[in-house]
Symmetry: C2
Subunit: 400 residues, 2 copies
């Protein structure tokens, strides 16, 4: 009896052109003549299609998407001018045909590998190539109404999955078993299949089920809870550990709808948790309530972070907040959109004010070494007057 | 009643040191003084742990793994000397402490982004940095007995999943619904959660269920079958299309055990397929049998590719072989290991002979535009005397 969430819309034509227009304004401000974009997510953002190619955006004139594969699909999905290109070698000729002279050209240097960069430099020896990654990230951090609708649909998927946990969680099942069941639920609801994280070595799972002491296993991930995983080769996520009574089962689920991700966490327990877990969970709720009381457009992420940390410290939980020991992370929230590590970052150093249309996951969590973890993760949309929740506010740990 | 496949072994100590020793010999041959490795999969290969850090391998002397996070887990998992490093800035001091002078230093320039490269170059202005990626890929293409054991376990997982399809496939269910069920089965069997593909923009799903005309949808993926996906933002894989009777349901499943992937495809049908699908399937079987009759260590991939194409052409299926129109790909097989796009590539241009210990997926497939696809994908281990199958040879389309 699963509800289907879908079908997915194409990015509206006017939105694609408005994104390109805003980006062209940034190019002007930065005195960059043009940008050549290659990363698949940026291509999707600016073209409306994820097909493979080179997006050339001059400061003035029309953008052109040079499509390597699949031209037919790109032409249907993108409102931009699409031109077929056989290989990278065709770039100089095709760009020459666009007319114009470009000297300072922006590229996504945070993700473009050196060898690919060198091949492009070889094709355009006169270009001075600069990084345009920060400008793209900033632009992408402000979500349109269309994007917020996709994010809300992704949130509905997560709500649906969490509400079904009670039907599946039972003593003695392994973390990966529950993980698989919840993944398959999301997929049947139209989950896109995977989530994206920008950068070299950035990998993530759609779900993490950690029970009992699994909640305190540390690993390479820049997240307060990592999970043990089933192998050192994928050292994160659910493990083969059997779920027991009276211990926290922390489920972090990433929705994925039409490219847009959400990232939420809930705690479940078969039986009853020890008092210190119960207390820490209440502190997480306090932090959420306090954040909702003052955070809005104009507020500094550093202040949001500081207030959260102050509450944790006041309750004697500073050491446990956002990880323990080497596992501690330096943030309490992160931007969401087409990737799961977007701007803003809610951290000590966050000095750029929140802006209307930003979306972030906020995740006060507490780790008790050798015992486990509790916490909540909720996604918020930043507005002029306050934060809007993507999903419902969870009041209690779900006791089963 | 699911069998558990596990638990996962750590890479044996002597194997880690032997991999490093072989790599040091290549550094000597290439007159490269040292290598600084960063990509997570290469780190796992050479250290036995996927934790985050910098692996420094001098041509002579001991390799050292400078671990950023998580030091405790890395120290347990890796037999190498592990040293804690707080941030990249600590590299010059820590490498200075190792003694030695390095001028020509190898890095993985096929994956290291420009901005990261520039930061490292800033720390080591005297280094001449060269690409060491090809040497790593060649080394990794020859699998040890330990690696082949992991690959076989990954194959067992896939066999188990395929044998369960008959219990789940039914008319009217969507591709994503079946996809989710089979993913959850794999996960319960200890599937690592995702598969890896090297390079910028290289993404893949663990599974692809394509039914009827979905089998002929073209997209950006460099694969003969792409699938429509559920959104243009993830333009590959299973879709919400409902599965019908008398059409091919092609399931491509990627096993993942202890880091090692397998990649196999089978065809299922509720009812009976039209004759041209039946015939094309028989031709795929012929190609597999023919390949098994002559391919072995010393054979050229280009000859294996040519023979497959000749058989397709002889049967009047040249246009349909390995995709149709813009969707056609230029290979019929690809190496497997920790990543799904390893060496060897079985293509027209494959001029380096197969070597014992190579493992590759071989996937003769036929696409009929607007109608669908059929084909088989089997994984092989290259031996001196022939090919060894990772899983069983499938004789027939599974009729249900």
């Amino acid at each position: 009896m699963q509800k289907e969430i879908g079908p997915c819309e194409l990015t509206p034509r006017e939105e694609v052109f408005s994104r390109i227009g805003t980006f062209q304004n940034r190019l002007k401000e930065k005195q960059i003549d043009a940008a050549l974009l290659i990363q698949n997510v940026d291509l999707f953002y600016f073209t409306g299609t994820l097909q493979n190619g080179y997006l050339f955006i001059p400061q003035e004139r029309e953008a052109v998407f040079l499509v390597q594969k699949d031209y037919a699909r790109a032409s249907v999905e993108s409102p931009l001018l699409c031109v077929k290109i056989e290989s990278m070698k065709g770039l100089p000729n095709l760009l020459h045909e666009q007319g114009g002279e470009w000297k300072r050209v922006g590229m996504e240097l945070d993700v473009v590998p050196v060898s690919l960069f060198n091949r492009i430099k070889g094709l355009f020896p006169k270009w001075e190539i600069l990084s345009i990654s920060d400008e793209i990230k900033e632009l992408r951090s402000i979500k349109s109404d269309f994007e917020i609708r996709q994010i809300k649909k992704s949130g509905e998927m997560v709500t649906e999955v969490f509400s079904s946990v009670k039907n599946h969680l039972r003593e003695g099942m392994s973390e990966v078993e529950l993980d698989g069941i919840l993944i398959s639920m999301g997929r049947a609801l139209g989950h896109q299949g995977f989530l994206r994280m920008r950068g070299l070595n950035q990998e993530m799972m759609n779900i993490q089920v950690v029970s009992g002491e699994s909640g305190s296993v540390t690993s390479f991930c820049d997240t307060p809870l990592c999970g043990r995983g089933v192998t050192p080769a994928v050292a994160q996520g659910s493990s083969t550990r059997k779920i027991k009574r009276d211990e926290p089962v922390v489920i972090d689920y990433g929705g994925g709808y039409n490219g847009y991700v959400t990232d939420e966490t809930r705690v479940f327990v078969l039986g009853r948790l020890k008092d210190h877990f119960q207390k820490a969970y209440q502190v997480a709720l306090d932090i959420l309530r306090e954040t909702e009381s003052f955070a809005r457009a104009g507020e500094l992420p550093s202040r949001v972070y500081k207030r959260a940390q102050e509450i944790a410290a006041r309750e004697g939980l500073a050491d446990n907040f956002m990880g323990y020991g080497e596992g501690k992370v330096a943030f309490v929230g992160h931007g969401l959109g087409l990737e799961i590590n977007e701007l803003p970052i809610i951290s000590k150093g966050g000095r750029r004010p929140l802006q209307p249309g930003m979306v972030f996951a906020f995740e006060p969590k507490f780790v008790f070494p050798g015992e486990g973890a509790v916490g909540i993760e909720l996604d918020y949309i930043v507005g002029e007057k306050g934060l809007e929740r993507v999903t419902r506010f969870p009041k209690e740990i779900v006791h089963l």
